[in-house]
């Protein structure tokens, strides 16, 4: 199979954005992955290896081979990401690629790894397509997705803001934005909300004022920002500037919702996120053993708590290594088999399933909200609710996920 490790080491490829707007996100992912490699090689305190339910890993690398890694820059562009992944595969002999910070990149690199015959573990990718219509046998996603965000958020929203709400969506005009908007609209409407309008905003926008202003007269009383990264920071800031949060509409307090949060965005948005609800894959404030162990070893090494994408990337490195160890082989198809339907615990988020049909992880989802009184610079979000896994599950042939046509295809061992 492709890049079969023959020497005393095995090489993993960490492909993250190092330039462009998501560079900080990428840097955090990289930190986590480096930490994971240390733990696999038996250095450091072992982190979540100690809490992981599977005990196949023993701190001697993977199958006795010392783990090394190479890094690359996705630039958050599918072309560049593929170029970088290819160089890891062709030049450095990487056996698996992990990381990334956008759905477009994840889908693009996943396709590449499928063809090349290596395992791809997606980093931060939230669009339904990654494990929906674009799912691939060699690709896995630990992160949650837009559908899950909707499913987790909707009940909390209905609870907090009532069932009679009129929502106005601003949506980043590209694939991820659309799927998230679709998911949120579906799950909120299911609970009685009405969707007044969905406006698509260009990805390149920085000033959203001309999209915010019409909200004022639309009769809507909730604004849903299907934006991520800089877009979200700016649209939220603009919305607050226009006084939306101090407004009363239809006799109700106007509210803003940001379905997908990340710590970095929250820091970027500063005061503006106070009290704004959203969802997350994981948060460092969780108190289960796994999370605590991870936060501790990450915090001691880097002096800051990890972000949720860092957590995902870390967990995936362990999951991959564990699967190899359990399969007893680096062969991609063996790894795929070991991961499919794998149930585990102790990596945060409670008991988790890697579903065989679409390679999506199913686990608890967090609903969070901007902290009212942050005590320090990392304490920007507080966990409102941990939505149980059952509530966010869906059938593998769900129409938002490519329906019956979607298929993983054959796993590919490569040359």
């Amino acid at each position: 199979f492709t890049n079969e490790p023959t020497g005393s080491t095995v090489t993993l490829g960490f492909n993250v954005p190092q330039s462009g707007p998501y560079a900080d996100e990428g840097a955090d992912e990289l930190r986590a992955q480096q930490l994971a490699v240390e733990h696999l090689n038996g250095e450091g305190d072992g982190g979540m290896l100690n809490t992981f339910s599977s005990k196949a890993l023993d701190g001697t690398g993977i199958l006795g081979k010392k783990v090394t890694f190479v890094t690359g820059d996705t630039q958050t562009k599918s072309d560049a990401a593929r170029a970088s992944a290819k160089s890891m595969i062709e030049k450095d002999g990487a056996i698996m690629v992990n990381g990334g910070s956008s759905s477009g990149v994840a889908v693009a690199v996943q396709g590449l790894c499928q063809e090349a015959g290596i395992i791809f573990m997606a980093g931060l990718t939230h669009a339904n397509d990654t494990t929906g219509k674009d799912r691939k046998a060699n690709g896995f996603r630990h992160f949650f997705n837009a559908y899950m965000s909707g499913a987790a958020l909707a009940p909390v929203l209905a609870n907090a803001y009532g069932k009679e709400r009129r929502a106005y969506h601003l949506t980043a005009d590209y694939n991820w934005g659309w799927t998230q908007q679709e998911s949120i609209q579906a799950s909120t409407e299911a609970l009685g909300w009405e969707t007044v309008e969905n406006v698509l905003t260009p990805l390149a926008s920085t000033d959203f004022s001309s999209y915010i202003a019409p909200v004022l007269n639309s009769g809507a009383d909730v604004l849903v920002l299907n934006h991520y990264g800089g877009n979200m920071v700016n649209s939220l800031t603009n919305a607050v500037q226009f006084g939306l949060r101090d407004k009363m509409v239809n006799g109700k307090q106007f509210e803003i919702v940001v379905p997908l949060y990340s710590e970095l965005m929250a820091a970027g948005a500063g005061e503006n996120i106070k009290g704004v609800l959203g969802s997350m894959n994981w948060n460092w404030q969780l108190t289960d053993e796994g999370s605590k162990a991870f936060v501790k070893s990450f915090g001691e090494k880097y002096g800051r708590p990890p972000s949720n994408s860092a957590h995902t990337c870390y967990a995936q490195v362990l999951l991959y290594a564990d699967a190899v160890a359990r399969a007893g082989s680096f062969a991609p198809c063996a790894v795929v088999e070991a991961l499919e339907g794998f149930e585990f615990d102790g990596l945060g988020n409670g008991p988790t399933l890697y579903r065989a049909e679409d390679h999506q992880c199913f686990k608890d989802v967090l609903v969070v909200k901007g902290a009212e009184n942050p005590t320090n610079e990392y304490d920007t979000l507080e966990v409102v609710e941990v939505t149980p896994r059952a509530q966010v599950e869906y059938p593998p042939n769900h129409p938002m996920f490519g329906g019956d046509e979607a298929s993983l295809g054959e796993c590919n061992d490569g040359a």
Binding site: L30, A108, L112
Partner: protein
Amino acid sequence: MLGLNSKDTMLLIVVAFLALAAPFLLNPFPTNSSLAQFNAGYPDLMQRFAIFGIFAIGFNILFGLTGYLSFGHAAFLGVGSYAAVWMFKLLSYNVIPAIILAVIVAGLFSVLIGYVSLRRSGIYFSILTLAFAQMSFALAYSVLSNPKFNLTNGETGLQVYGDDPQILHREGLPDVPHLFGWAMRDNFLELEVAGWEFTFNNGYYLCAVILLVVFYLAIRLFRSPFGLMLRAVKSNQQRLNYTGLNPKPYTLAAFIISGMYAGLAGGLLAAMDPLAGAERMQWTASGEVVLMTILGGAGTLIGPVLGAGFIKYFENIFSKINDNVLHQWFAFLPDGMEDFMVFIVHPFVGKGWHLTLGILFMLVVTFLPGGLVEGGQRIARLFRRRGKKTDTPDPEHHPKETPHVAE
């Protein structure tokens, strides 16, 4: 030879040698040495060198000869890629129809944009091309990828799915881009010689051969009356007009030719890796080819290829140097020194690769006004001077410079 004078023949031979021996030349370091990081001889990067070389050669035909600075050439590259992937989706994975269609579609697209944009000159022309390309990008990124009418597949990029028709696809042909069964991504030879590894990749050799062909065509074009007319356009359009020549069709032809080169490059990109992302059309991509051409030396034959190689090398090699690698390099130093060196170098590699690139841009353009090609010429002259020194003192430098005279 081939209708070229001896100097151009030499140039072509040198380029042919460089291109065909690239797998050796670009892998100068043994695989396990700490400098292996600098090896660029793996298929993907070699393909990129060739493809972006083609792109830049084409761009230079327009910019280097006529002086018309297009800031939207990436649009043709992108269109070429989309066309090629669509051929994969509809017909088969054979790269020939894909590349041909890529060239044709990019050509047609450039007729359209060129015809309109060439009504203006100078900066007004540049902004018109930029505007067209940015519109193409914006539409490809979002509007043209909506579920009802998905032409580009937006952010993710257009790719081949299992349920695509591929009407000419037959059993036994590889399920990846191929040339009559000869898969682009396969290597026809992998050599291991005493610690060195050399990869000979099908796709790269296809690119290299095409590069040589289009390079040859470019030489012919540069030396042709047509090329002369294009340089005349740059020099004095008014005079050209009053000499009875119509500058319009000349510039338009140059625009279309360079658009087709871009389309060819786009088609090849898709042929090497069947995915066409919208960012390929963004202004930064157009800017990149401008930078490649200027960096290498606008108006020279080989310059753009060098510039393309330079930038792609940084993007792919320097971005991958992380602290771990740095520690390996400096491991021979005492600990404190090692950390210090890593600390010094750290900002310039890995996620700081842009910084190094920016600094090099500034240095090259400041000290080598003619780009990298001028650098080469200066070195060559240095050698020649040294050789000549023995015969006659240079008559041109008769009076010594005297310090009291201000320049």
